[in-house]
Amino acid sequence: MTSPDTAERSNPPRPRVRTVVIGLALIVLAPLVITGAINLQQFQVVYRNKVESELTVMIERQSFIVDSFIADRLSDVRIIAREHPIERLRDPDFLRQVLNLMREEYHGAFVDLGVVNEDGIQIAYAGPFNLEKADYSSAPWFELAFSKESYVSNVFAGLRGTPHFIVTTQRRVGDETYIVKATIDFEYFNALVEGIRIGDTGFAFIISRDGKFQTNPRFEVSLNRSPYAEILDGTMHADRIFIADGKDLLSRPSIFTFAPLKQGRWLLCYQQETADALDEVRKMVRLAIVALLVVATGALAVGYFVSGNLASRLAEADRERTVMTHQVIETGRLASIGELAAGIAHEINNPVAIMVQEAGWIDDLLHDDNPTSAENLVEIERAVGQIRTQGDRCKEITYKLLSFARKTDPSVRAVALNDMVGEVIGLTSQKTRYANVQIVTELSPDLPEIQASPTEIQQVLLNLVNNAIDAIDKPGGTVTVVTRAEGHAVVLEVRDTGAGIPEANLARIFDPFFTTKPVGQGTGLGLSICYGIVEKAGGTITVESEVEQGTTFTVSFPRESPKPAQPIDPTSEREGP
């Protein structure tokens, strides 16, 4: 046997394991990945909708808070303006009193309080700055404040040089109109908006329609970029709550949410990185991937374990079967030997019986009155010669038996079938003689060798020939052993002129333990062993039979090498009487 053959035989479980694992992985992982991906996609859509609706609710509430704050501060100022007579409002001490009250009430939302006359002169002032008699006639808000019943300014620096915004309301006294004006603390207002924070990156701020920050954004924002630019130039409308996708200054995908404030003159803006807003999705994806990995690893581990286990069990079963087959063959061989032994015992008995008698004869002669007479000496010499001849006969018989019974060698090598036929016929010669069967051989002289175990092929031949002899129930039958090359096969044919096999039995003859011989005379293993051996050698065995005409077993072995077989040894070709 060649070494690649050996390597191939020791390896088969591995590809089996790999195939099973890959198959299992595909079967388990493919649906897992597909459903996982679909679920995640759907989850993403659903979660995006959920985030958007949460953002909408949040900004709605926040814009309401901001709007309410401004409206409340305005109404505070309006109440002050309505409640108190102008004389008192013109009194700075009174104003201070009111301011203090309001600051207490609103935790410092109000910075100062003042009354401005039609000429733009602040006629009364209460607050931290020295703004009494300040002239606002040229201030941008002055015209607007006088044209409206009440007014809320944008954030501006103004005379004090720090950002703030004012709420004003008119107070008419006769022909004269005054403006009661309150400054809202920017920090206070800013904190109101700055406090809107969601996640790590969410922040809010307010811009005016003309693109000025009304509160400080927590992170840097460029109003020249999308979507702020589009909102400010009117390409996109934010008359109501509006959500847009875009990128922040660091080019990270972000969600932008807008809500109008102050009847649309301001915009409450909320910006958050998409990844942060959809953090739950990200967590979910991560969780799903982890779950997938865990399940996949589990499935693969189980698959690997199961298939590995399976493969090793298969290998074990293979091994056991090999051992079993070997044992069955061995058993069958021993049975054949047992059958042979009976015949050989007979065969050996005859020469032994002769030797015993010849020895006894010599003994008789030696006890003669004249043991050394010429006549006696000739007779003793003859007897000794006979003993030697019969001893040789015994030796030949035992040699034949031993050559068959030697330890089974299942190793495959080149076998010259013709030589094998000769040996086996030699072994059965005694049996054929007593069964009165003639053995005829038709051996092809240039038969190619076959690759098989010689002892196994010997056994096949012996079984077939023995069966053929046994099948002959009338004296004068013939067993014909034929070998020939037939295409790519080497064919062995064992024909007998015996009783034949009834059709009912024909299908079962290769079954183990099927026998038609009387109990104790056949194991029923012979043909099943032949079948196994021939299969193992890559050949086929077939049977044709006709009742009362005879049976032909045809064994076909694959022809291994193109070189012709060695010349047949004529002495190995023995025939019956």
Partner: protein, 128 residues
């Protein structure tokens, strides 16, 4: 047993010629009148020609089974004593021989004394 006046007439049937040869020499020396036949057919021919007191028949022969020979012998001469010779493992067939009328069977290889004892016993049983 030796009777000078009328020696016992034996027919030895075996297909081993060498065996017949030496056995007949030894028995002749003991005073028996021995005829040999190396096949069943030859034995039957001999029985047809001469009279015998006893036949020693090998069970396994090429042309004819020892039992067949025994049956023919018993048909031809029911008073003929027959001793079967057999090898190990064929005792059953030899016992069958006894039911077919053989006096006894002996297992090869058999010593001459044992054979003579059996022959004597067989002849004695016939005399009674």
């Amino acid at each position: 047993m030796t009777e000078q006046s009328s020696p016992v007439r034996l027919l030895l049937v075996d297909d081993e010629v060498g065996y017949l040869e030496v056995l007949s020499k030894r028995l002749t020396r003991r005073g028996y009148r021995v005829t040999t036949a190396s096949s069943g057919t030859e034995a039957i021919r001999a029985l047809r020609q001469w009279e015998f007191d006893l036949a020693v028949v090998d069970l396994k022969m090429e042309d004819m089974d020892g039992i067949e020979v025994l049956k023919v012998f018993k048909k031809m001469d029911p008073s003929l004593r027959v001793i079967m010779l057999t090898g190990h493992g064929s005792e059953r067939a030899a016992r069958d021989g006894i039911t077919q009328g053989a006096f006894d069977y002996l297992i090869k290889p058999v010593g001459l004394e044992r054979l003579i004892e059996t022959i004597t016993a067989a002849l004695a049983s016939g005399a009674s």
